[in-house]
């Protein structure tokens, strides 16, 4: 029992001071490393201070000293009990060409489910338009899609892209920010055990399928491919990857077949979620640039064949990136 608190504080003071110094050093520099001797010393100081806190809590009362030791133990606890790999200096190229595709492949099942939701939505949207063409006014969110496809193609080929002259950069930025917001929202709705994410994916699939069916039925397949492929082959997968991230979150929440506690599952998977949504943002920036500066130009200005070829090249590169990149670095990174 501590009767003489003054003496207790006096005797333990050097220990607390030394621990605080080490804690501050480790907190201030995320890249700081302890050698074996320092690590042993740090462990000793932590153990001794926790023991002091236990004694203070059990045998004596002094709110300020106790709070100080509690705070010190809490900070040291965060450092000593975090068993994950310590953060290293962020290397953007290494992350983009290594971590991102590896995480994508690791979570391929979620990507398949997300793709399935979009595909089912597309089939549904196509079926609706095939049954009743006038449904385009209900389904399509943009007014320029409400007119008949042939009419729109005629307008676009007569020089409608000029309407974007002088606002292309603004249009591109709006596309990037809007699409990124929607992608973030789609990922975040994973918190509804994935239901909200699937609904968003399905809804966007409906619009995509309906638009595609509308243009195909009007005999404007070439225009459709030339219009959608350059940006769509990046934008649509990016959106599905956002859905994949949402489903990864849902999987963490549900935890089926995973014996880790909920908090630990979420904490462990946060890095993968951040990686996926970071990758989505980059893909959407590219898609926004292409959509504003290429997709809106049509024949005779830009041949459809060229646009389609450009889109196919992008698709192959994206697929190769997601399937092959980072394979050599596997296992070197957490």
């Amino acid at each position: 029992m501590i009767i003489d608190l003054d003496r207790f504080v006096r005797e333990e003071r050097p220990t607390w001071q030394e621990l605080e110094k080490m804690v501050r050093r480790l907190e201030d520099d995320a890249l700081a490393r302890l050698n074996l001797e320092e690590a042993q010393r740090f462990h000793y100081l932590y153990e001794r201070t926790t023991s002091d806190l236990a004694r203070l809590s059990t045998f004596a009362f002094d709110p300020d000293t106790r709070r100080y030791i509690e705070s010190l133990v809490g900070r040291a606890y965060a450092l000593i009990h975090d068993m994950r790999e310590q953060p290293h200096r962020f290397r953007p190229m290494h992350w983009f060409f290594g971590t991102l595709p590896r995480v994508f492949r690791k979570r391929w099942r979620a990507f398949v489910v997300a793709s399935g939701a979009v595909l089912i939505g597309s089939l549904f949207g196509a079926a609706v338009i095939m049954v009743d063409e006038e449904m385009r006014t209900v389904l399509f969110p943009f007014s320029h899609l409400h007119v008949h496809p042939s009419e729109r193609v005629a307008q676009e080929e007569e020089g409608a892209p000029e309407s974007l002259d002088g606002v292309r950069a603004t249009f591109s930025s709006q596309l990037m920010t809007h699409n990124t917001r929607v992608a973030i929202f789609c990922m975040a709705l994973g918190i509804t055990w994935g239901f909200g994410t699937l609904v968003i994916l399905f809804y966007n699939g409906v619009i995509l399928g309906a638009v595609a069916a509308d243009y195909i039925m009007a005999g404007e397949l070439l225009f459709l491919l030339g219009w959608l492929l350059p940006h769509g082959v990046v934008e649509i997968p990016a959106f599905i990857i956002a859905g994949q991230a949402g489903l990864v979150l849902a999987h963490s929440l549900i935890g089926r077949g995973d014996r880790r506690p909920l908090g630990k599952r979420l904490r462990d998977d946060a890095g993968e979620l951040a990686t996926l949504i970071g990758g989505v943002a980059i893909l959407l920036v590219w898609a926004g640039i292409v959509e504003a500066f290429l997709s809106q130009y049509h024949e005779p200005l830009v041949p459809y064949g060229l646009k389609i070829a450009f889109g196919l090249v992008e698709l192959v590169l994206l697929a190769a990136f997601l399937i092959w990149c980072g394979r050599r670095g596997r296992g070197r990174e957490a």
Partner: protein, 270 residues
């Protein structure tokens, strides 16, 4: 890990030691976010001023740049500051709160990013109603972003060292003659209870006579019930004098305490 007080979260280490975090409630967090929104608005003005030269070259490029930079600022502000300032934005720093890993471990960048991206859902339908509902329903007062990132927002304790000069040590304190009883009180009395007793002593002159008697009577009844007291300790001691004696043994136990505790990091009392 367990919740004790409605706004407290206690973490028990493998060594068997517990430490407590005081959770930040919706009001504190809303005020902090209000300050942050104001900062983002100011940053938005700054972006417009900085991009002014671009407007002379191309209005379109300037507008596009403003949209992009404002988007980055609004999304990145909290992410960047919470990462660099160990869980604090400007608003959180001013309000004395911070983001903390729910297990008490080191906060990771991915956690900071996730909790901030989830504002899109927490903000539904307006004014963070979903987030507030989530805070009221979860044990650690977490909005959905905190749940997904496994974080919580805690208050940074800033206990000012009470002005004990106003508490004149009693000329004779019967509790000081019984060190084992004084030690037992230090063991049993929680900081909240001690603070309550201290406040009663400090504000006793502000109470009217009847209320003063009643307050000290209640307090004395409670504290006397904690420890069995020998007759000589309580004989002839009024309720108010008894509480003053108790405050004396609780707060004058150690002079080695901080004048004021600091920000995230407590200043050493040493």
């Amino acid at each position: 890990m367990m919740r004790t007080h409605p706004l407290e979260w206690r973490i028990r280490t493998p060594e068997g030691v517990t430490f407590t975090y005081e959770l930040a409630g919706p009001i504190y967090r809303a005020l902090a976010w209000g300050i942050d929104v104001a900062v983002i608005v100011v940053v938005g003005w700054g972006i417009q001023i900085v991009t002014l030269p671009v407007q002379f070259i191309s209005m379109d490029a300037a507008a596009g740049l403003i949209i992009l930079l404002y988007f980055l600022a609004s999304v990145g502000y909290a992410v960047l500051l919470e990462w660099l300032w160990r869980g604090q934005t400007l608003g959180k720093r001013l309000l004395g709160i911070r983001v903390q890993d729910a297990y008490g471990l080191r906060l990771r960048f991915s956690q900071v990013l996730i909790r901030n991206l989830f504002r899109a859902v927490d903000n539904l339908p307006v004014l963070y109603l979903v987030g507030v509902a989530s805070m009221l329903c979860t044990r650690r007062a977490q909005r959905l972003g905190d749940v997904a990132g496994n974080t919580m927002v805690v208050r940074i304790p800033r206990p000012l060292r009470p002005d004990l000069s106003q508490v004149t040590p009693p000329i004779y304190n019967s509790l000081r003659d019984q060190p084992h009883i004084a030690a037992r009180y230090r063991q049993l009395v929680t900081p909240r209870e001690a603070s309550l007793a201290l406040q009663a002593v400090l504000r006793r002159d502000q109470l009217d006579a009847a209320a003063r008697v009643e307050v000290f009577q209640e307090l004395a009844r409670y504290f006397r019930g904690l420890v069995h007291l020998p007759e000589e300790v309580v004989r002839g001691v009024t309720d108010e004098q008894y509480i003053r004696n108790l405050v004396d043994v609780l707060y004058h136990a150690s002079p080695n305490v901080p004048k004021r505790e600091g920000d995230v990091v407590f200043r050493s009392p040493l």
